[in-house]
Structure formats: C-alpha cells, structure tokens
C-alpha cells in the first residue's frame, strides 16, 4: 500500500515580502476578528446544513418512511435514546461504565501500537532516507512485506504470540504493523524531500554526520513525519477495529461485532460513531503537536 502524502507546508521562497517589525499574525484580538469574519461567511452554515441533511436523510429513511430494508437499521432517534438513557436496554450508554471500558481498551491498544511504530519507524525511516547503503539493504524487504494486507497477518500474528505473550499482543501487533508502514514510508519521503542545498550548506559549515542527522535530516523531515503519524493513526484504527472484530474480548471493534451477533443494533451505531469521534480526536491532537513543534511553518506562510 502506498499512502498518499498531502504536501505539508512547503518551504516556499518568499520572494518580495518585507516583514519588518513584529509578526502580523497573533494575539487574541486577531483571533476574534477571524472568528467574527468567518461567522459572516456562508461556508460554515452550508456545512452545518450538510450535516443536518445527512441526519435528516438517515431519520427519514429508517424511522419515518419505513422503507423496506432501511427499517431494519436503527434510526437516529432510537440510537440517541439508547445512548442517553440511564438504563439502556443493552447496557451501553454514556452512563454505563462498560462503554468507557471498551473505549479505554481500544485507545490503550492504539497508543501502544503508535508508540512502538513511532519509536521504530521514525529512526528507521530517517536512516533509510539519509543513507543510500542502508536503504539498499532494507527497502527491498520492506517493499516485499508491505503489499501483504495487514489483516492477512491475523492468523500468523495469533500463532507467533501464542503462549509467549498475552492475548493482547496480536491485536497490538496488527495495529502496529499498519501504523509502522505509514510512519516509516512518510519519514523516508520526508528526508528525501529535503532540498540538497541544505545538506551542502551544512557540510560547508563543517558539520559532522551527527550534526547533519540532528540538525538537518530530523528537522527537515519533521513535516512529513507528522503527516505520516496522522495517516498512521488513521490506518491504525482501521486495523485495530478489524483485529478486534476477529479476536478481541473488549474494545469498540469487539463491541460492534458482539452487538451484531446479539442483534443489539443501536449499540452498533453508538460504537461506530464513537470510533469516528475518537479517530478524529487522535488526528487533531497529532496535528496540534506537530504545529507546536514546527513553529517555523506557521509564521510567515499565508
């Protein structure tokens, strides 16, 4: 699998843009100004309208018109009632601890996988991008293993970890694998994207290899690394859910499958939406951390 990389803030040459004195962007008053300005634009309202239409369509198709196949699916009203009830029919709502337990397990697994894939993927990716010799030996192996879909590893993952590690290990491993591919690939791309000129300048200035690694390769690849982490977290969730559906005991993926087997359809939707929200939050957090670490891409770019 090749993951599309959205070009991060490009290091664009500012041609004739004098910026003397204080930075223009900043300050609470300016943020408020932008907020007020955006409220007068049609865009957010149309967006809101879009979501409302979606909910409306869902409601109409499932509960109101009772169309043939749609009426088997739970509608928004049923889901919302269940989700907010103190004594839910199937034991899952915002008031039940079980709900949060499932969320915890899924999040915990993703965090573990994310940790390992960052710790292994970023350094490996940096080396592969920087040193051709290393890449020549390692990239072929990666490229042969990578096309195998992560979920095809399920049986082998179960076998490998059987008896050696807990039942958690296969699930975390599969999530790790997915995130790892994205991380290492994008990190490598990030290093390759660094303009040769920066390496030359660093060499002129008398850098030793470790300086080049920590002061050129790593910061230069950082935008791509964060893109990779974002993509990685996304595909990590994807694999986690599948792995949980196949062999888990707790977690949101397990909850979905279990509820299906027990015909607790409203819970399916609750779990799906929770997945969506949490997945989005993970992405947003990574983006936030990235923008904090890469202040140089914030200032000065339009």
């Amino acid at each position: 699998m090749v993951f599309a990389v959205e070009a991060p803030a490009r290091q664009i040459e500012r041609q004739n843009e004098p910026v003397f004195g204080k930075s223009q962007v900043g300050g609470v008053s300016f943020a408020l100004f932008r907020l007020r300005h955006s409220l007068t634009q049609p865009a957010p309202y149309i967006g809101f309208l879009g979501i409302v239409s979606l909910l409306l369509a869902w409601y109409l198709l499932t509960e109101f018109f009772n169309l043939p196949r749609f009426n088997k699916l739970p509608g928004p009203v049923a889901v919302w009632t269940e989700f907010t009830s103190r004594t839910p029919k199937y034991g899952i709502s915002i008031y039940t601890p079980d709900y949060y337990m499932h969320i915890f397990w899924s999040v915990w697994r993703v965090l573990q996988a994310f940790f390992w894939s960052t710790v292994l993927g970023v350094p490996l990716g940096l080396f592969m991008g920087w040193k051709k010799t290393f890449r020549d030996y390692s990239f072929p192996i990666l490229e042969i293993v990578r096309p195998i879909p992560v979920l095809a590893w399920v049986p082998i993952a179960i076998l490998i970890f059987a008896g050696i590690a807990s039942r958690e290990a296969p699930i975390v491993f599969l999530t790790f694998l997915a995130t790892f591919y994205a991380t290492i690939l994008n990190t490598m791309l990030g290093v390759e994207s660094i303009d040769e000129v920066y390496f030359r300048a660093a060499r002129c200035l008398g850098s030793k290899p470790r300086h080049i690694f920590f002061r050129v390769v790593l910061p230069g690849a950082l935008p791509f690394i964060f893109t990779g982490l974002q993509i990685g977290v996304g595909v990590g969730w994807f694999s986690l859910v599948a792995a949980e559906m196949l062999s888990g005991e707790y977690g949101l993926g397990f909850l979905i499958w279990d509820s299906y087997v027990l015909s607790q359809f409203e819970v399916i939707v609750i779990a799906m939406m929770t997945l969506g929200v949490i997945g989005y939050l993970f992405s947003a957090i990574i983006r936030l951390v990235g923008s904090l670490l890469m202040r140089w891409t914030e200032r000065g770019t339009s």
């Binding site: 030359r200 200035l205 008398g206 910061p219």
Partner: protein, 289 residues
C-alpha cells in the same frame, strides 16, 4: 582591450598574510546524467589572486556553477586540478570535502528554515566545536549588529524578506572566517531595487574583510559593479573566453554606473557575452545542475 585568460590578476593592496589564491588549471568536467556524456566544462584555466573579487559571467548552463561546485568540494573534476594557496583541493582522484574555508552562499538561499536566525548564524562555530553554544550566539549577535542587520535574531527565515535573508546568509558564512567566499548567483531572484541594496551591502562587507570572492552571475551590470576582474565563460562546454580587469576605485558607489569608463567596459563585456548567449538561446537545451 583584450586580455588573454590565465593572466593572474594582482592587487597592490592584497594585505598582510594574504591567502586564498585559487589556481584553476585545465579543468574539465564530464557529467553522465542519463547515460549520455555531457562535457560541462572544457579545459578551463584561470588564476585568482588572494583577496580578489572575481566574477564569472556566462549564459545559463555554461558550467559556471560546475566550477564553483568543484572549488567548494561538492563534486569532483574529470581532468586538471584546482589549487588553493598552492595546495590541491580538487583533482580527478581526490576532492577535499566541503569546509568552512570555502563557504558558499547559494542561489535561492540555504538558511535552515527550521532554525531561528541566530541559530543559523551561530551554526558554524558551534558545530565545528570552536565555540560553546552560548559564545557562538553572542558572536553571532555581534556580527549581525556589526553588519547593520536589525534585531531579527529570534525570527525564522520564512518571516524575512529575501534581501534580509541573503544578508543573514552572508553573515552565516562570514562568522566562520573563510579563506574564500563562493557566491552562486545569490541575488538572482531579487528585484532590481533590492538587488542594488544587497550589492552595496556585499561590497561594504568585502571592503572590510577583503577575502577572495568567487561570484557567479548572469547580470552584467552586477558583474561590472562588483568585480575586480570579470571572467566571461562560453556556452557549454564552458571555457574562460575572456578576462576583463575592472579598474574602478573602491569603495564603489552607484554613481560609477553612469561614468564614461563604465559604459565602455559594459559594451565590451556585453559584446563578448552576447555571442555566447545567442548560441545558448539557439541550442535550447535544458540546464544541468
């Protein structure tokens, strides 16, 4: 007034302990980008005296950057040799790695976008272990002030104008006390107004430090304004076709651009270059590195 290439220019006031004389002897360089041999530079020879401000002009793709890269140590040469203060720094078998003795200022700028200005300027001494991080920063601060650059130490390069960035880059090069300064069309992307200010800045710096400068440009006015000697290169494969001594007094100012002598020199260089430029225009090949 024709001067044969290879005549060493001398400066009466080269200064005590002058160093930085470059000798380029019969240098040729062949590229092999797509399996097709391309002769970029062909039997180039020139002697540059210590402390001389030497400008190379020529049409795009004629090999001037190749020469600069060879002096800097970024790639090797196929034939000939390059000497710095009588020590070979570039031969077909050995290339001295790039170092702070031959600092380069690049065309589109190479300030690290992820470091602040002060970090950028302090980079050289810190990394070479010559100064502690704090001392390097102090020295960088002093140098920026000395060069008349405002309080921009904590900014990132993206926030500055191109003129400012280029000046910072010159500071970053200077702080390392290089033997030779190599500038690869540093003002190319600037508009004419910013360019003239940047040129005067460079000349002020040069007057202070009197280092050997190897400057590449395609702008003839710039060459005449800055140089002690102008070298004209032919189209690919490049050869030094013509050397012209610019005997204007330093410090220079823009008034000289309207003097009679200047106009004479200009028409001389112009006709020499124009022939080559027309050839390059006809050839229509894409430029190499």
């Amino acid at each position: 007034m024709t001067m044969s290439a290879g005549v060493a220019g001398t400066r009466a006031d080269a200064g005590v302990g002058a160093s930085g004389a470059i000798n380029i002897r019969n240098v040729s360089k062949t590229y092999d980008p797509l399996g097709v041999n391309v002769l970029a530079v062909d039997n180039c020879s020139v002697d540059i005296a210590a402390g001389e401000f030497c400008v190379v002009v020529g049409p795009s793709g004629c090999g001037k950057t190749t020469l600069l890269n060879a002096i800097a140590g970024f790639h090797d040469i196929s034939q000939g040799e390059i000497l710095l203060d009588n020590k070979p720094i570039c031969t077909p078998t050995h290339t001295s790695p790039p170092g702070a003795d031959r600092m380069v200022v690049f065309q589109n700028g190479a300030l690290f976008p992820w470091s602040t200005i002060i970090s950028n300027v302090a980079y050289g001494p810190t990394v070479q272990g010559k100064l502690s991080a704090r001392d390097a920063r102090n020295q960088a601060q002093n140098l920026l002030a000395e060069l008349g650059l405002p309080e921009i130490g904590d900014r990132y390069p993206n926030e500055l104008s191109s003129g400012m960035r280029r000046r910072v880059e010159i500071a970053r090069a200077l702080i390392n006390d290089p033997t030779v300064l190599l500038l690869d069309e540093p003002f190319r992307a600037m508009d004419a107004l910013t360019k003239s200010v940047a040129q005067e800045f460079l000349l002020q710096v040069y007057d202070k430090v009197r280092k050997t400068v190897f400057f590449i440009t395609h702008d003839l006015e710039e060459a005449l304004f800055l140089a002690d000697r102008v070298l004209v290169m032919t189209t690919r494969p490049g050869r030094i076709k013509y050397a012209l001594k610019i005997d204007f007094e330093r410090p220079r100012n823009f008034h000289m651009r309207s003097s009679k002598r200047y106009l004479e020199l200009k028409s001389e260089v112009f006709s020499a270059v124009r022939e080559e430029a027309a050839k390059a225009f006809e050839a229509g090949e894409r430029e190499l590195a």
